[in-house]
Amino acid sequence: MTPLPPSTLAILDQLIHHWPRTLILLLVGLTLIGLTLRSLRKQRLNERYVLLFVLTGIPLIGVAIWPDAVVFLERVLSIEKATMLTLGVTVYFLLTTFALLSIVSVQERRIQTLAQLVAMMREEREGSGDGTDQPPAGDAD
């Protein structure tokens, strides 16, 4: 038998009775999204990274408004709360790591290419080997 979602009244009742928890979760979620959007506006964070943090903040706000969402999901999915949370957090970190590594890989290739171009341009500017087979005194790179 599929459990029914709680009514609006039930959710409001929970918000009133557990207002400190709601407040904290709302503050954390909104602060996260606010900081992310502020960084985006000030060009300190690229759009592709913003998505990661906005997607983190939204569930926090969702749980703040409906604290028993986790319990509801537990019933719907028939997975224990602890297991579900562990899985969720693991998947989230895996996806985040994957996204960041993808970005790092592209940047690494670009840096390598840039270094190669710099080296070749320097060679063209300075010419060939310096013509000395012996290092000058005090050679230190």
């Binding site: 290739r109 190669q116 070749m120 060939s128 080997g129 310096d130 013509g131 087979d133």
Partner: protein, 267 residues
């Protein structure tokens, strides 16, 4: 039959010498190259050495200095980019540690010209000359395993897949300038070229033991190295490193590999 590639200097050949902290041997290698192959241009790629390797490069050679250490794959690719941009017909890789005697380089160049292959690898296992360098038993076993992995994954049947003494033709130069493996380039290149329809052949050479510097793969890491390379080779079967226009026998390149955006390949 005596081989003298200098009899036909119409082919422009670049010798790429990747060097990392090879101050002790780089001058001798360059001088020997100039002596044995006077019509071959020599390019030393100093991979961010900290021992002043570039100061030991004689005036007969050119030296590209990478701003920091990027690894053997990127150092070698820098040479191929240089060869591509300067219109060389062949590019030869040769180690800076003196392990690859330059007098044998002519045989590789000749083999490439004769065979029409895209890559000729100098194999120390095809020459029975007494004193020819043979790796220790452990490393030899690793080479045997890797050559079988390459063959099993659809690569060419080569005996010395880890040899860094090799000559590439124009098509391979063009491809390498666009993309080159940076993890385990020697065996990966054999597999990737073969799987992309290019011809890889071998020619017998003599190698000596290293004269200076440190080996890039210490013996005690051999087993782990073989596992890592095998895994990398398996992953290479999913790669499409070079776009089709580059693989055609004589196309005009679609974009300069000097363009960073054009150089990126999404595996």
């Amino acid at each position: 039959m005596p081989i003298d590639p200098n009899e036909s200097p119409s082919r422009r050949v670049l010798a790429i010498v990747p060097a990392y902290n090879e101050a002790g041997s780089i001058a001798a290698v360059c001088r020997e190259l100039a002596e044995h192959l006077p019509h071959v241009d020599v390019l030393v790629v100093d991979d961010g050495s900290t021992d002043g390797t570039h100061r030991h490069v004689p005036s007969t050679a050119r030296c590209v200095r990478l701003p920091f250490n990027l690894g053997i794959g990127i150092a070698v690719q820098t040479g191929y980019r240089y060869a591509f941009e300067h219109g060389y017909d062949m590019a030869m890789q040769i180690d800076a540690d003196g392990q690859h005697p330059p007098e044998h380089a002519a045989a590789l160049i000749h083999a490439l010209a004769e065979s029409g292959a895209d890559l000729v690898i100098g194999s120390r296992f095809l020459d029975d000359t007494p004193g020819n360098y043979r790796p220790p038993a452990g490393r030899m076993m690793g080479i045997v395993i890797l050559r079988r992995v390459i063959r099993w994954l659809g690569g060419a049947a080569v005996t010395d897949c880890t040899s860094g003494f090799r000559v590439a033709g124009r098509r391979a130069i063009r491809c390498f300038a666009h993309w080159y493996p940076d993890d385990y380039p020697e065996p990966e290149v054999v597999l990737l070229l073969s799987r992309n329809g290019m011809a890889v052949v071998e020619a017998p050479i003599v190698m000596t033991d290293r004269e200076h510097g440190e080996t890039s793969i210490p013996f005690h890491r051999g087993v782990f190295y073989v596992l890592k390379v095998s895994f990398a080779l398996a992953l290479d079967t999913f790669r499409k490193p070079w776009p089709d226009p580059l693989l055609k026998p004589d196309p005009s390149p679609p974009a300069s590999p000097a363009d960073p955006a054009a150089s990126e390949t999404t595996p």
